[in-house]
């Protein structure tokens, strides 16, 4: 009996659900593409990739909300160099989820103080975004395809392939039971000519049962290369519509940006109406849709860029040294359980890209900048004072509230494109009327 893992996958990969909610429709794959034996349906709504980069040393960790039978899972990723066994590993899903939670766009809440007591007592509460084997090297030449290495990596069987030409590679993969989408050969050909290898992984069911995980852990590949790219193109071959990818870049010096596409910071720091609290997911989805539309889907969006040594406010517990090292930030030195508090420099950039073959025809080329300016996607709820207040200042405070609410409504309309009338109606229901009650 083959155990279905999709339910666990949904829990395991899409814990921080806000951003996985963004891609509602079926889509293709991320930096590689999924291939399947037989005719199983493939879905890959959104993917998460952690890119750690120090000089030319790169670690790429890939997690996806793959839903399907485990024996049908397979991934093909172009890699710039030959990969040895010690350069491959698996990462605990919780570690990526932790990084996701730590960098997630956030809703912050403030409560107005008694206008009669001009003491600024500060209370804030965060609402997180939905919180929701022994290596055997075999060399076989067949159809111009060379199996440069074969590794057992936890629940995965990994092959490192090189090829002389794309049709041979496609034929080899097809003969070995992989379903290759039409049009993949042309894309593979470009990578072959650039002397790239192919990292092919599929699930070993026996080892998976022995390990008792029940779900697929993210794969990590580490290599040294001057190329700082994310090969998206393969993922667009079998895509049905645009797909979402979230990149968490861990670097030493500063923010990461795309060198061949616009990198745009999402709107942030704006006051929004209180009812957004109950539907932050819908709000964020609409805001992101609008931002994508504004840039004609040709931009990469920054959701978070911050020194890993501190946070303000922190959306979750800081990552430990161990977690950072696990994700590839090996330059920090210490791999203990203590929270990372600086010392060595580590900077995280969370990028969100919605792409398809038309809007992102070329693989994204990244570059690390020296920009250490902190940025976070942050939206603010301000609760009016609800207590007793009868001084003159309180009257002025209350008289000013409708204008404040109107401003919040305008912000929300601008951010999401929602109908103002609906926004105002929802605000009135939530106790934020924009018009002052008419005097009796």
């Amino acid at each position: 009996m083959i155990r279905k893992i999709s339910a666990r996958l949904k829990v395991g990969v899409a814990l921080l659900a806000i951003l996985s909610q963004l891609a509602a429709g079926p889509a293709g794959a991320f930096c590689g593409f999924y291939v399947a034996k037989a005719d199983a349906k493939l879905f890959n709504k959104s993917s998460k990739v952690v890119l750690s980069r120090d000089g030319n040393r790169t670690a790429i960790t890939m997690a996806s909300d793959y839903e399907g039978e485990p024996e049908e899972f397979a991934v093909v990723i172009p890699v710039p160099t030959f990969i040895e066994r010690r350069q491959i590993g698996v990462v605990d899903t919780k570690t990526i989820d932790h990084l996701d939670a730590y960098t997630a766009p956030r809703l912050v809440e403030y409560h107005d103080d008694d206008p009669c007591r001009q003491i600024l007592a500060y209370r804030s509460r965060l609402q997180f975004s939905a919180m929701p084997a022994p290596a055997s090297v075999a060399v076989a030449l067949r159809k111009g395809v060379t199996i440069e290495a074969s590794y057992d990596v936890a629940e995965y069987d990994v092959l490192i392939l090189s090829a002389n030409e794309s049709n041979g590679l496609v034929e080899w993969l097809t003969d070995n039971g992989y379903r290759i989408p039409n049009g993949a050969a042309a894309v593979l050909g470009g990578y072959i000519k650039q002397n790239m290898r192919f990292f092919v992984a599929k699930v070993n069911l026996e080892r998976m049962k022995l390990m008792g995980n029940g779900y697929l852990r993210p794969l990590q590949v580490r290599y040294e290369t001057a190329k700082f790219i994310l090969p998206l193109r393969l993922g667009t071959v079998n895509a049905k519509g645009p797909q979402d990818l979230i990149v968490y870049a861990l670097t030493r010096n500063g923010r990461v940006e795309a060198a061949n596409y616009r990198t745009v910071k999402l709107p942030s720091g704006l006051d929004v109406p209180l009812f957004v609290k109950a539907e932050f997911g819908r709000f964020y989805r609409a805001m992101f849709d609008r931002a994508v539309e504004r840039e004609n889907m040709h931009a990469v969006f920054v959701e978070y860029a911050w020194d890993m040594g501190w946070c303000d406010p922190c959306a979750s517990e800081p990552l430990s040294n161990k977690e950072l090292v696990e994700l590839g930030a090996r330059w920090i030195g210490d791999d203990g359980d203590a929270p990372f508090r600086g010392g060595a420099s580590a900077f995280v950039t969370r990028l969100h890209v919605r792409y398809d073959a038309k809007s992102f025809p070329e693989d994204i080329v990244f570059q690390e900048t020296h920009d250490r300016e902190n940025f976070q996607g942050r939206y603010v709820l301000r609760h009016p004072w609800q207590g007793e207040a009868s001084c003159a200042a309180a009257a002025a405070y209350r008289a000013g509230l409708p204008a404040r609410f109107a401003s919040e409504a305008s912000n929300l309309v601008d951010l999401t494109g929602w109908e103002r009338r609906e926004v105002e109606a929802q605000m009135a229901n939530a106790g934020q009327p924009i018009k002052l009650p008419s005097p009796k």
Binding site: S166, A186, G189, G190, K193, Q194, A226, K227, F228, N253, G254, E257, A258, A259, N260, Y261, R262, T263, V264, E295, N296, H298, A299, K358, P361, E362, V365, Q367, T369, H370, D371, R372, E373
Partner: protein
Amino acid sequence: MQRKKYFARTRCREKGDIAAFATRSMRLMTNESDICIGRPGSLNTGTDRASPGAVAIAESLVLRLLRFVWSDARHLQIMALASLLAINFAIIDFGARPASSTCALAACLFTQFFCSRLAHIPLDLRSPLITGLSLSLLLRAGEPWMHAAAGAIAISSKFLLRIEGKHVFNPAGFAIVVMLLLSSGAWISPGQWGASISFASLAGFLAIMVLHRARRTDIAIYFLLSHAALLCARAVWLGDPWAIPLHQLQNGSLLIFAFFMISDPRTSPDSSLGRFLFAFTVAALAHYLAFFMQMRPALYVALIALSPATLLIDRVLPAPRFAWTAPACKGVSP
């Protein structure tokens, strides 16, 4: 007849000098007499006896402004770059910051002033303005003082790094390469422009080039064609769709490089064939650095690395040396 004479006098007295123009404009505004517009009333035959002077002054001011702008290709270039900077601040952010831009411009202008005094040459602020605007648009840095340093390096290189009376490196390109190599806080953001700005820039820069019939900006076209040909050849080799080279060409910083750096007439070869050879070589080296060495500032590094070769090219393919002139008086442009 009188109008023709008036235009002729205006044209002949145009010296293309900002300060002189400003002074004359001020005198006009205060109704002081000026030799070129000394009889404003004669240009107006209307019946309103109170307004002819004002109308003529306004008319002549506009004409003078247009003629001044027309008198030197750099004026249009300054306007184009300043417009791009304004677009950056007001509409589409591609990374320039007011403090950094101010620092770059101030440093370029001050260094030009200082070096001109030391070298006992007349002060001309147009070239440093172009350099400052280019640095504002292309260079990114964590701290504004780095833009000031880049401005100072750029302009001083023009005075210090000279061979045979000609400066060797394009000032902005040289400063960018020096800052990227020597400082730990500078970078470039070539992807920040977006397609719409790139198309608008291309149209604007081409318009300036065509309208002004600038003799040496053919190198911009040579370079862009070479660069495009190499990108297309790469796409053919890899089997890529044409969308990829087209996307790679939609890059505003590439256009600034083509129209303001490699086409700098003071640092490009004198002969047309020399300019073509130079442009193609820079494009080829940049292509190699970008795609085989994965170097992001490949264009600037290629230009600066190959700039000394212009001296050799000028010896092998000699031609008259370029000097900025006012084309209105030389008959270069209408």
